[in-house]
């Protein structure tokens, strides 16, 4: 066997392996393409379009049939009336055609100019071509027929009117606008949303990380019942967000919440505090008037509470991988607990802390559910993600919502580049 054929064989094997690999990845690729990458692109598209929530219901033509006349008199013509209406108040319909089958044995005596009667396999069919129908336009078409003795009123109405038309699809049409973006950036809200997002993301991430580090430090020491406590500390993260968010809301409710009742009972506060509904508390400190963003702080505390278990888990895993003889040696050298933490633990976990901070930063930035459930984005807690919902579904302006989503995506792009740049290679 010479070198050439050997190369051919391995080449064929490699090709087969490649084909198999692509085959195995294809389903995943297609699904992700359809549900993640396509929407990402579509989001850009929608953000440039003047489209509201109501536009999603496709426009259609409604045709109603009415029969007038006496059925016992065969000489008197029966009037058939077709009333039609464009359902959309914004978009015209074109090429509107509707068809209706007539009962056996009737004879058409008078017909509008839009319509004609054709006979297909023994059944007489009225075909009306309406052409263009303007938004909200309605009208009627009349037709007179002579009926035979066997015809009943029901035999007219039991055949359904079939209509066809072409309508401009708002999603695929080529109307573009920059209004969505100008609305998002020019509104006075933009700055406050940006501020809330920055506060929430930074303090939420840092708080969860610090509490997680603290928890890991505590659980890394052996004590009876440690395994149980460790599992238990993960509850806030594992439980459904909806359940824990609502129990927080109820716990801090100004009228019937236990926390407020307790604060009053213990004499800490005079009247109930609306923790999730009050934008700011003003107070004076050293003669300076200051305000403290209450609702935003509460939302951040919730975020810290809910996500510290994650940081805790990662940091704990990393800490337990530090060889214990290092600590024993440090102990022998008389290093105090604080020195052991600072000079031994911290250098070992600094890598994971950095990665966690960046990843958690991105995910806190992306967080929607928590704030939405706690405050609905009111009282100064509206972040970008909540603003997407607010614009698209509360104000029903899909385009503006998509524009906010594009802004989020741009931020994410920057964060991911930073993430890739600063991730230590061994920690990924």
């Amino acid at each position: 066997m010479n070198a050439g054929t050997k190369k051919n064989i391995t080449g064929a094997l490699a090709r087969r392996e490649r084909r198999l690999a692509f085959g195995l990845l294809l389903p995943t690729f297609l699904l992700v393409l359809a549900i993640v990458l396509f929407p990402l692109f579509a989001n850009f598209w929608i953000s440039f379009k003047p489209i509201s929530l109501a536009d999603l219901r496709p426009p259609t033509i409604f045709v109603k049939e009415r029969i007038k006349g006496k059925f016992n008199d065969l000489q008197e013509p029966i009037k058939i009336e077709y009333r039609f209406r464009n359902s959309s108040i914004k978009y015209a319909l074109s090429d509107v055609v509707f068809k209706d089958d007539l009962p056996q044995g009737v004879e058409v005596v008078e017909i509008g100019k839009e319509c004609n009667v054709s006979k297909l396999s023994g059944v007489e069919t009225v075909v009306c071509e309406l052409g263009n129908v303007a938004p909200k336009e309605r009208g009627k078409i009349e037709l007179k027929v002579l009926s035979s003795s066997s015809t009943q009123k029901e035999s007219f109405t039991e055949t359904r009117v079939i209509s066809s038309f072409t309508a401009k699809n708002v999603l695929t049409s080529l109307d573009f606008t920059l209004e969505n973006y100008s609305k998002v950036f020019s509104s006075s809200e933009f700055i406050s949303v940006l501020k809330a997002t920055i506060y929430y993301t930074f303090f939420g991430t840092a708080g969860a990380l610090i509490l997680g580090l603290f928890a890991a430090q505590i659980i890394s020491k052996a004590f009876p019942g440690r395994a149980i406590v460790r599992g238990f500390l993960l509850f806030p993260y594992v439980a459904p967000v909806i359940a824990v968010a609502f129990s927080w809301v109820i716990l801090f409710d100004p009228f019937s919440g236990s926390v407020n009742a307790m604060l009053i009972e213990l004499g800490v506060s005079e009247k109930p505090i609306n923790f999730f509904g009050k934008r700011a508390i003003s107070f004076s400190f050293l003669g300076l008037q200051m305000s403290f963003p209450l609702a935003l702080t509460m939302v951040i505390i919730f975020e810290v509470w809910r996500y510290f278990p994650l940081s805790f888990l990662f940091i704990l895993a990393r800490m337990q991988s530090i060889p214990s003889d290092l600590y024993e040696a440090a102990e022998m050298d008389g290093a105090t607990p604080f020195q052991q933490f600072w000079y031994l633990s911290i250098p070992h976990i600094i890598g994971i802390l950095a990665v966690l901070f960046l990843l958690r930063f991105i995910w806190t930035f992306n967080k929607f559910d928590d704030i939405f459930l706690l405050t609905g984005g009111n009282a100064g807690t509206r972040t970008f993600t909540v603003n997407v919902y607010e614009q698209a579904f509360a104000i029903s302006n899909l385009g503006a919502g998509a524009a906010v989503a594009v802004v989020i995506f741009m931020f994410l792009l920057v964060f991911s580049i930073l993430f890739i740049k600063f991730t230590p290679k061994d920690e990924s």
Binding site: L25, L31, V36, L40, W45, A239, A243, F246, G267, S416
Partner: protein, 409 residues
Amino acid sequence: MAFWRLGIFSGIIAGLIWAPVWHVIITVGLIISSGISIELQLGPALLTGILVGGLTVIKKVENKLITLIIGSSLTFFSLILFSIGKPFGSELLVYQGPIFIATSLFSVITFFSINNSVGTLNFGLVKKYFLEAFYARLVWGLGLVFLILIVVIPFYVMLMTSLKNQQSLLKNPLDLSIDLTSSPGKLFNSYIELFVEYDFLTLLLNSAFVSIVTVIITLLFSIPGAYAVAKLRFPARQWFSGSILMIYLIPAIILVIPLYSVFSQLGLRNSLLGLCIVYPATTIPVALYMLKGYFSGLPSELDDAGLMDGLTRWQIIIKISIPLAIPAIASVALYVFMIAWNEFLFAFMFLDDIKIFTLSRGIVSLNSTEVPRQHLMAASVVATVPVLFIFLWFEKFLVSGLTSGSVKG
């Protein structure tokens, strides 16, 4: 001489911190478990702390049990003495049942905490190392109590509120005790109403259906995909495994508008099928990433041996790789189940029809002024219990799933 380096000073510090901490916790506990109105007064507790903390460093007894008994009795009597017989509030005397129990509990737990923090410290000067070790123990103990409390309280309130009735909730929001003497029908009234009136069984089944289908689809897609990325050589392999990570940084909120629009027009929006398409798409990248890590750890020699024996790649995946990866697959499955079960945004946006609500969607619809809040809390308990049960049962798997795959959430 620096007084703060004296052992007795450390002992007093421990007492000054632990006694009021436990006094507040037990007062609050007493209020919510009995509904009695109590005003907080920390003076007696502080004095007790100073006395007990100071004494702890002076005299040592070898036997731990005897130390605890002596110390606790000391704490007990000094608290009663300093509070003139009214350890918890001015209304109630010490010999009344709940107060007696609370005082005893306070004494044991406070002395235990102080004693553990103080450790082997003596009355006199303490070396820097031991002093720092003392503060480390003190912070450690306080930290543990703090962590347990912040985790317990919301869940406790959720559970207790769900077992109460509207009247008693409005009358005294602090009374979170449950009347065990009342009939079970009355106690579980909210749960019964949820299942009878709000048809929560359907919601539960819908959630279970969507979550299980999501797990199955995710595994069907991600196992072959992860195998390919981990074991097969093909161009753009590096690129592919990198882009998986990128995809999982994309949040649902920026996908929701296009998906809402397109699914509305396709008629997929208000259906469980729609969710069964969207959920796997968001979980597959995570699952693929987790499994890829595991498959890469399996020795390639096994695959080669399989190939030599004439197995096809499919057979290798099914007969060799999957059986070896069962622990990893289990943790992925549990993690994905948890994500799907807890998912809120898409369920909230997509589902309009009450018959196909998932639990998350159903609970949001309960959050109105017409529905009493004990129903809302009962519904939250219903949604939480299955996940927590699964979590406790398979904690080992799930924890490894969480650490290997998720910085997402």
